[in-house]
């Protein structure tokens, strides 16, 4: 059995001999350790991405004041502490790149895909543990390579995280050559890691579910990670392919995107957004799934409309492939296509709306426990709504003419990726922290962190809508160049101060995270009175997870069931009326 890729027998793992430190914590094949590795790596990148945002905000708020501690930066980036425009463009590019590819995506998919899937479906590990380990180390290498781009001659990539050709294709236009090539290589390598991970997740969910864990007994977190893995598997190769084509244009003289020699400039945008829109859902579906778990737990109620939640996820995954053109309404693409993409975009908003109403329905008539994860989860819903609604403005092609490429879109993406994904990540980290590390996080500190983050987050990003409505373009180094933007300088300063405070209060989270690891209260098996399989094993679970294969008798959201006295009913608890899954043909 030990050699079988899809072994269901936990024995093969539990009898394992003592592993060396290196095998146990560094080159580990244990999905839980790999999840934690992804967590630590992504937090470091989150910090880098945040620092880059702070530098940009400083420049926008105080264009002629030297950056505090800016003297530490080399002359090629910020002589005398004043950022150079070319370095600002690198920051624009790298803030987006790092946050999307090396922070949010690994946090959602790398961390929770790894940590949760086997535990929540009752499997001893991933289907391919060694591939899983490889996935982390490949992603890690891509991250190192990406950061190395800052130190090459000519500076880092400066064509935006979307890398539109020909700006990205020819060093003549940006003065950047090595940086852009490193960017492309790193993205292609990271893609390899994502594909390995996605294959593993799909195989694991399909093959390693415990007896009784039918598809419609799976928690929405697992549904969302499963569907996300399918999106990753289909979308990432397109990005990798496009990145390699662009790399060849740069290095060996191909002309895929070179309009002077038979290539097509706009092809890059089609390829990038054909990947890029599914990517948007890769960055939000796992957040939606985990928030569903947490809201049900906090409300002590089943998820309202579980089946329509699953169907909403599936329809988003399908529709996500036919909306990419809404990033390109003003690109010179055939305007008739604009109509098509507008309608498909309007329609994809519907399943998102369904999800929001179902979260509200879950809280309705609940008995809500506002633990820290629940606060972040409700914060997620409140903020995601704003991101969803602001999307409708851009979906309307004529309104988009005006707000495209302005701060309105910057506000929108941050309401989805920060207000949405990152609040969900805070919810998920604080929820599963006890299971990951065997310790409880400090709840008071957690609540203070939530409220301050919620406040400064909104003070930072909500006014960006107003900048956009006033016509403020994004990705500009110095807004004071334009007369019509000069009256906005006070608002820009206000946003900068809020952003600095938002960044600063994250210290509370970092302190809580680190201190609790060493000094937190020992976590019980099931600190949140939750129903999932992961709460039936010790915190942290041993290698191999389950002492014996668990049997599942019901769905994951049987909170406040009339069948039992408690307000929760674990998936594995056998009631007198329950039949053995094998006998029931499950």
């Amino acid at each position: 059995m030990a050699t079988s890729a899809v072994s269901l027998e936990p024995a093969a793992h539990t009898e394992a001999h003592e592993l060396s430190f290196l095998r146990k914590y560094i080159f580990s094949t244990d999905h839980k350790i790999i999840g934690i590795q992804f967590l630590l790596m992504s937090f470091v990148f989150l910090l880098f991405g945040g620092l880059m945002a702070m530098m940009m905000r400083w420049q926008l708020g105080f264009p002629d004041r030297p950056l505090p501690a800016g003297q530490l930066l080399p002359e090629t980036m910020a002589p005398g502490g004043i950022l150079l425009p070319e370095f600002y463009n690198s920051l624009v590019t790298m803030h987006g790149t790092i946050m999307v590819f090396f922070a949010i995506m690994p946090l959602l998919v790398g961390v929770f895909g790894n940590f949760l899937i086997p535990l929540k479906i009752g499997a001893p590990d991933m289907a391919f543990p060694r591939l899983n380990m490889a996935s982390f180390w490949v992603a890690f290498s891509a991250g190192i390579l990406m950061m190395a781009g800052f130190f090459v001659e000519g500076g880092h990539a400066a064509a935006g995280w979307t890398a539109y050709a020909p700006l990205s294709a020819d060093p003549e236009w940006t003065g950047v050559s090595g940086g852009q090539q490193i960017w492309l290589l790193s993205i292609a390598i990271l893609g390899l890691a994502s594909i390995m991970g996605a294959l593993n997740y799909i195989t694991t969910v399909v093959n390693l579910r415990a007896p009784g864990m039918t598809w419609f007994r799976m928690p929405l977190s697992i549904w969302s990670l499963f569907i996300t893995a399918i999106l990753v598997l289909l979308a990432i190769p397109i990005l990798s392919g496009a990145a390699i084509m662009l790399f060849f244009d740069q290095t060996i003289g191909t002309h895929f995107f070179d309009w002077t020699d038979g290539g097509q400039v706009i092809l890059w945008q089609h390829l990038f957004w054909y990947f890029g829109h599914p990517e948007v859902y890769i960055l939000i579906l796992p957040a939606m799934g985990m928030v569903s778990d947490i809201i049900a737990n906090g409300s002590r109620k089943p998820v309202f409309g579980y089946h329509s939640m699953v169907f909403a996820l599936i329809s988003i995954a399908f529709l996500g492939w036919v909306v990419w053109g809404h990033h390109m309404f003003q690109s010179g693409m055939n305007p008739t296509l604009g109509m098509t993409f507008m309608i498909s975009t309007m329609i994809i908003a519907v399943p998102s709306a369904i999800k929001v109403f179902n979260w509200m329905g879950t809280m309705w008539r609940g008995n809500i426990r506002f633990h820290v994860p629940m606060l972040h989860a409700v914060g997620f819903v409140a903020m995601f709504v704003i991101g969803g609604l602001s999307g409708i403005f851009m979906a309307s092609t004529p309104v988009d003419i005006y707000i495209h490429d302005t701060y309105f879109i910057v506000a929108h993406i941050h309401y989805v990726l920060f207000g949405g994904s990152l609040f969900a990540i805070f919810a998920a980290v604080t929820y599963w922290y006890p299971k990951m590390f065997g310790r409880m996080m400090n709840s008071t500190l957690g609540k203070i962190h939530f409220w301050l983050t919620f406040l400064f987050y909104n003070l930072t990003f909500f006014p960006m809508h107003d900048l956009g409505i006033a016509g403020h373009m994004r990705r500009i180094y110095d807004p004071s160049q334009y007369e019509f933007l000069q009256p906005l300088a006070p608002l820009n300063r206000f946003i900068t101060v809020s952003a600095l405070l938002l960044f600063t209060v994250q210290i509370l989270f970092a302190v809580n995270f680190v201190m609790s690891w060493f000094n937190g209260k020992k976590a019980p098996e099931n600190p949140w009175d939750a129903n999932g399989l992961e709460w039936t094993v010790p915190s942290p679970p041993p290698h191999g997870n389950f002492a014996k294969v668990p049997t599942v008798y019901r769905g994951p959201y049987e909170y406040s069931s009339p069948l039992v006295e408690d307000d929760f009913l674990p998936q594995t608890r056998k009631l007198a009326s329950d039949v053995d899954p094998a006998a029931a043909g499950l």
Binding site: V265, S299, R300, G361, N367, I368, A470
Partner: protein, 224 residues
């Protein structure tokens, strides 16, 4: 802070601004319903000793309502938008009486080529001005955007006009100014290190002033 659009000065502003405010009202209602709902539920259904949550798994009726209402609303917004979009950017939307200009765009400048006294573009009496676009009021103009290096985007906030200029593609954009005055042209697509200062002006003249300016300008060009 303001959700009011700045004053518009073209024939597009009326339609685009109207759609914007329609969407603002609709999303505003949805925003209030959801946020107030969350707040009320959070307070009303907070855990207290002796309470138990009601075991409710869902409601088909509710699902149908909150699927259908957003779907119908969004499709209506889509259809309303469609007409305006076709009028502004549709393939055959450019009015036949539009005055044509050639715009050669490159890092980091806009070069506007005017047809000379013969009323034809592409003839010897054409002349070109850097970063200055002179147009008459209440008369459609057509810009033929020709990008020479990378992608740029022609943006006049006051006219509610934005259109990428893409190397290798012929892209025409039109508009009709309704107020005499001076307005700023911005580049809206990241185009390199000077992107932030790729600025130009559009000067809207009354019809008579425009003719006067054009003949002065052509005379000056002849002398050069």
């Amino acid at each position: 802070m303001s959700w009011i659009l700045p004053p518009g000065a073209s024939t597009f502003a009326g339609d685009i601004d109207f759609l914007y405010y329609v969407i603002l009202v609709i999303t505003g209602i949805a925003f209030v319903v959801v946020e107030v709902g969350l707040l009320v539920f959070a307070i009303k259904y907070r855990a207290r000793p002796g309470r138990k949550a009601q075991y409710i798994q869902g409601s088909i009726k509710a699902e149908i309502i909150w699927t259908a209402v957003p779907a119908v609303t969004l499709v209506i917004i889509g259809l309303m938008s469609g007409g305006v979009w076709n009028h502004i950017k549709g393939r055959n939307s450019i009015p036949p009486n539009a005055i044509p200009y050639e715009v050669h765009v490159k890092q980091f400048e806009w070069n506007f080529t005017y047809r000379g006294p013969d009323g034809q573009l592409g003839t010897a009496d054409d002349f070109t001005l850097r970063n200055q676009l002179h147009i008459p009021v209440n008369r459609p103009v057509e810009l033929q955007l020709i990008a020479e290096d990378v992608i740029h985007s022609f943006f006049v906030p006051a006219f509610r006009v934005k259109q990428d200029a893409v190397p290798g593609m012929d892209i025409n954009v039109w508009f009709e100014a309704t107020e005499v005055g001076e307005y700023e042209i911005a580049c809206a697509e990241l185009c390199g290190l000077g992107h932030y200062r790729m600025r130009a002006r559009v000067i809207v003249h009354s019809a008579e002033d425009y003719q006067q300016w054009l003949s002065d300008r052509s005379a000056a060009a002849d002398e050069e």
